[in-house]
Symmetry: C2
């Protein structure tokens, strides 16, 4: 049995939840507030971050990159043509580049600001850094998202999926980030038709259903969040 | 033939140079100042970052993670017991976790500040953000390095190498980051005996020799930088 330590609105945790679903891996999940630095999490991952998975009595596998590689190494072969990591080294490199872009650059420049300011800081005590959103951080995120959407739209215009002609981890990494921004109504969908159509395809996958039903108390999602025809 | 686009004092570029040497992969290198956002680099990597490699007429492989995975997928098997990625999925996950820690967390909290403030900003024009080092960023880096060294020292105390009983990519990722901090005399070597002994072992590897001979005009390295018995 797999155990996943995650936060419901951590984009990289959502990425792993979607991949576990796609790979048909049963798991139990433990929700964690990483900013509380709980001992149980720190014992598993000295970095104090989620996602982390533990398989049976095995060691903790920490961080979204190591986790998807692990899942693919232990289960990918059996997925046959539904495998989410391509076979060719060049295509694998492109998948990894875009996973890193989504969870790294896009998160640091856009979604990380939105989630921290508008979700985490609303549930954190003031002593832990909670409080009003930093309007400067939000302004930066809202300016940056335009450039990122344009680039992703440019890629998708020339490919069937984000990383190439086949669905890959890259699509799920980006969809996970987008879903958090979308909950907050922060995605300017009119900016790029290609990215909107791509996200509609992703949203209709069963793996997204549980995510689209989750809500934060006192903070309802944007109207289009769970709507498949947004 | 491989071409590497790099900056001599970008820690993740140094990591790739060391791995290319260890894997016996011949390459030509092109030094780049990423902050100048040169067209040739942007055409290869829309993120505008180094390292990037190109093999023959193939596509660009961008970023340290995708590059080492690519090198291991295309050359690792032939390395036999000198391969730098372990075989077992759990050990691979541990290697990747520590590579991510060194190039991600350690870089963001420590070495990235040092290199940007003390090297990059000294060679950048003021219009591109160059100028005096931000003493606050340096103070943060100098406080943070203590915690990181303690953690790395704790790992190495119970293992032969950083990621386990065998030399792995994790050792080279950390050595690459440490070498940049060490050039600047910013590593408090007396803080942890284990990490000092480990770095002495890394420093004596032939792959580090070219790095230890590089100097920045007008900014000589710390006295111990090239000294194998520091």
């Amino acid at each position: 049995m797999l155990t996943l330590y995650h936060h419901p609105f951590s984009p990289s945790s959502r990425f792993i939840r979607m991949v576990l679903f796609e790979y048909g891996a049963e798991f139990q999940s433990v929700a964690v507030n990483p900013w509380e630095r709980p001992q149980e999490l720190l014992r598993l991952n000295a970095a104090g971050t989620v996602p982390v998975i533990v398989e049976n009595e095995g060691p903790a596998i920490c961080g979204p990159g190591p986790i998807v590689e692990y899942l693919d190494e232990t289960r990918g072969y059996a997925m046959a043509d539904r495998r989410l990591m391509p076979d060719h080294p060049e295509a694998r490199a492109e998948t990894r580049r875009l996973v890193d872009w989504a969870l790294g650059k896009f998160d640091q420049e856009v979604v990380g600001h939105l989630v921290r300011e508008r979700i985490y800081k609303q549930t954190m005590p003031r002593t832990a850094g909670g409080g009003e959103p930093d309007s400067n951080a939000l302004r930066v995120a809202r300016a940056n998202i335009q450039h990122h959407l344009k680039y992703f739209g440019y890629l998708i215009a020339s490919r069937r999926w984000l990383g190439g002609d086949r669905l890959s981890f890259a699509d799920f990494a980006l969809a996970a980030e987008m879903s958090c921004a979308d909950y907050l109504g922060e995605v300017p969908w009119s900016a790029d038709e290609n990215i909107k159509n791509w996200y509609a395809r992703m949203k209709s996958r069963p793996c997204m259903r549980p995510l689209l039903q989750e809500k934060i108390l006192g903070m309802p999602p944007a109207q289009t969040y769970a709507d498949l025809d947004f």
